[in-house]
Symmetry: D2
Subunit: 347 residues, 4 copies
């Protein structure tokens, strides 16, 4: 059944392992290539890296020999979970060589002709790919998904665009998996919070405007929303929580907001893509939700949860949003991007 | 040396135990009475409750018999760590009977003639006590300290009053000790956050305005700042962190804010009160501070720490503030209140 | 398809919720009755208790009205997750009234005619039921599964009976879910271990001998192994780890032990029961396994994992064993018991 | 007052920072040299490493320039918290150059003429130093303290030597600080235990016999106790817990054991050394003690706590022992060794 071979760049890292886990039973894509650093190249995957997820490591992946991440033997479609310190160069090499690089790395997200996609939100941004080859001198293409906390924020805001979003203040409480592996030392985070994540606030403040922006004349017009973000690390395994306050031009009722979230659907749902959540955004009525342990895994980790909607004394509304950072915010996001491209005939 | 006998109401609870710990070597106050519920009355303290702090339980307290919390045998000065479900009635009884009740409970905080004190911030609010006896019909008095997260927020804002604080948006990350004992079940909080604390947001939004307000004509004029709070629980033992954004009328430089915090002193420092921190507010330069584990215990838990000052794209400035919730935010706050009263000749 | 109606006693508790989760898609059993205390009776389940598992609460259970746990309207087969403080009386009432009570509670485990079952280990102990009705004066029957840590220990020992187990020293590191809900306060366990679990050591030392014992003349002859247990609580969500050392009469090679574990199969595997793990015991080669987060969920939580086999300087061998305490050690254990009874024609 | 200059090798690591913290107010020793790797050399300490302890970093240490760890400018007395991968070579260089190296590293612990000290237990082993210079060709000397879990075990066993200790089975639950910094990734340990610590079990099984051994003819006769250890990592900040079972030749009463622990004193208490705990071993009566959070800090972290004494069905007695691993088990242990040497005129 799974007939499209795919490669994974950065296969041994946290996001790479999540790619492997999510593709284990994928109906379309089959892992046929594992790329990593020279240190891992030449070893069977199971010897190159400890498997760190509770999911079962598929036998064929366990025994597959990891290759040095470079174009050549890789399939046309490659997922990249590379660290940003090397992703810039390696992804460009793959794109030049004609690969479709579906990347989770930040390096190309803000490039004019690189789509920064959340398929439910801006499927039409795929059109940027038309001009990418010419502008970048690439035979292949690079398509990206947002930073893991930005996905949650942009998903929660997308259905509110109809009300005219002017301002968004957000404080995040982010899971340790967002820092990769080995990531945050236990000594630093046990019984503690770390009120700083390098570069994260800037990503939220810029990426969200592109994602929510509109396509016109072959380029993205940023959404006019102004954002202010504070990002913190907490002792949570998976799931980024976002305390958000929004100012809206129109003055909708709370019911109108809840309805906007609950009824929100996009192109992945229309196309019934394999990784698409049935309901992209759930609004939870309980006073103390969403919670990472209980809600981050909704719809296989692809659903975003919102709760605690109430009036804000300063802006219009306050609420909490939550999403699974290594699935909806990373590997799952990239896979959904690739599914969209396949369904739209772009692979 | 310690010559003033004091009582503790709610002695077996989380805040009650913190009172005992902080008073163990106090130069002025000596624990001479332990009041608790009927269930504990008649037992030695060590048999009435498990001691749950790393500090050593003083032998004389361990062996002191707990009494049913009612006026009669208690000293004139009593500290109250009573649960709010019973504090209203019991504290009033003590006040009627002539006691000075220095309370950590929320029940009387917003009463017109009850001071809601942070001695560094509003020592002059003690004057409310003049009218309290008459207005309440009490022979004694009740004086209160704020909610544990409000203390941190109000301390961080107090030095900024000179710049004209208009708006404050805050998201808290609060420690489990703030929920008392047994408090938050480990099942609910392990690897999790709980984005809701009952009644907490309302307390912040109202108490802070009274604390920062000015005394005039025997009553408090609330400070005009408008606040919006979101409160969450995280797996931290002690220390409430507050992600804050402020809009200021004047447009001070960052250096002016930092200088305002660092140079902030109040009546407790003037009077050199035993529990007064030398520097009530420290500004930390490191990019990833303040952190609960490293900073909540500064100055014996009585110092508030601020860090990460930066421009806010929506208001004027953003920063993080942190304080020890059961010391600066509860038992230590009450003790400092009592020290102030003693030094001002009000005991 | 699921055609056998079942009831759950103690439905709102930690084990009761796990029963609901495991029976959500069961091919044979369908939840048709929820029994709990008077406090919950008369309310829809979703209003009687907060749902505390990441699994989705089935709609029909959510809306089912909870009844006061008493015989009458309940189906013949009832699972009991009742607290031991009430299980003794209520389970007896159900048994008297003709119900088959498949209990997770400790109250009847050591009764002479009550089977204490691990179906892979002692399926023949079901024969005790023949005499139970007469000896107890019950029209129905009670069948039990062991304490949650005992299951892991007895499973790990069962395949070693062939080598003549003489002595077993064990220290456990047990998950918080084993204490029920609200269970262990977060204040007590954050960054801590609690080296005591009331009654747990005694249960291990007695129950294991009955489980491993042999049926003769309508009664169980205890296995002669002598056990010594120390039990501790650690900050783990699910999964009890057991550090074990065993003295064996025969002197098998390490390979013989590993082979004994890996090839171990029992009646549930022969009968292909729905909840039976394909491989009841996995031996893990990695030096640092088994680990609760990575391994407790193996085979849907019904598989026990063993690792770190090595010579013991005092006895013969040392190893670590791990199992999921609320599935293999509680609700899943009871369901497997009921499946065995059904397959053996005893329902 | 503090007049003896000392150096710290490996000053930036976890144990090095603990040395700095413990020496901050030491009455005899004053930090006059910080040695670390080339990467840190030439920088002020505060720039070479983040300070990771809640204790205040002394200003003079913060501003002291770190040097490349090599003999030359260092004081005669140096404490070593070096990683064992480099400690062998560097400590030997210092010893050759005439320094007294008081080391926490494992490299020389089992050398015939190197004392492996717990001053309360084997102060007479200092005599090994007489022969060390000749046997090793060193002008200076090396003296060591045990592995962090071995200290707790050997302390708990030492008072029982009078009863003839034959066998000891132990399972440890060890804190993350024992792994240094960055040490254990939070991803690996959150809600988890790791049932393996490389090399730790071997250290316990060999070091304890030397520590408890007797000095005769200029060499140590190992104590005949046979030990079997299993070591695990748990999510505890500081404090190693040891579940122990012992076989004794004599058959003392439980009261005799408790009395042996409580009355245990050694040379540090006789000499009233600055870091000596008044009571080296406390026996706690509460059923659920000792606990790391509550008890590891007893006597400034230099006291060992024992509890839960009960009969063992296999050996004679079972109990739990606990000690602070980076104080009693590392930096504090080394400082006590140096204090003993000073008091005995060996510096």
């Amino acid at each position: 059944m799974a007939s499209i071979p795919v490669g994974i760049l950065g296969a041994t890292g946290m996001v790479g392992q999540q790619f492997i886990a999510l593709l284990a039973d994928h109906p379309w894509f089959k892992v046929a290539y594992l790329g990593a650093s020279e240190r891992s190249a030449g070893k069977a995957f199971k010897d190159a890296a400890a498997w760190r997820l509770p999911n079962r490591l598929p036998d064929d992946v366990a025994n597959r020999v990891v290759e040095n991440a470079a174009p050549g033997t890789a399939p046309k479609l490659v997922f990249s979970g590379l660290d940003s310190s090397v992703a810039g160069e390696i992804e460009a090499e793959f794109a030049k060589a004609g690969h479709i690089v579906v990347s989770n790395s930040r390096n190309y997200r803000m490039f004019d002709t690189v789509p920064l996609m959340i398929p439910e939100v801006n499927a039409d941004h795929l059109k940027l790919l038309d001009a990418q080859g010419h502008s970048q001198g690439w035979k292949g293409r690079i398509i990206t998904n947002p930073n893991c906390s930005t996905v949650v924020i942009a998903m929660a805001l997308a259905p509110l665009r109809q009300f005219g979003i002017e301002k968004t203040m957000v404080t995040t409480l982010q899971a340790i998996s967002g820092a990769g592996y080995p990531g945050v030392p236990s000594w630093d985070i046990l019984g503690n919070i770390i009120p700083f994540i390098s570069g994260e606030e800037e990503k939220i403040e810029t990426e969200a405007r592109k994602i929510l922006g509109s396509l016109g004349q072959g380029r993205i017009e940023d959404h006019p929303v102004r954002l202010s973000a504070t990002t913190t690390r907490v002792l949570v395994r998976d799931g980024h929580s976002c305390s958000m306050s929004v100012a809206l031009q129109q003055k909708p009722t709370p019911e109108a907001l809840i309805d906007a979230w609950r009824s929100f659907r996009g192109r992945p749902q229309e196309l019934d893509l394999p990784s698409a959540p049935k309901q992209p955004i759930a609004y939870l009525e309980e006073a103390n939700r969403p919670q990472p342990v209980l809600d981050a895994g909704r719809e296989g980790g692809m659903g975003v949860s919102v709760g605690r909607l109430r009036r804000c004394p300063l802006f219009d509304y306050k609420f909490m949003a939550l999403g699974h950072n290594t699935i909806r915010g990373a590997a799952g996001a990239a896979i959904l991007n690739a599914e969209l491209m396949h369904a739209e005939g772009l692979l």
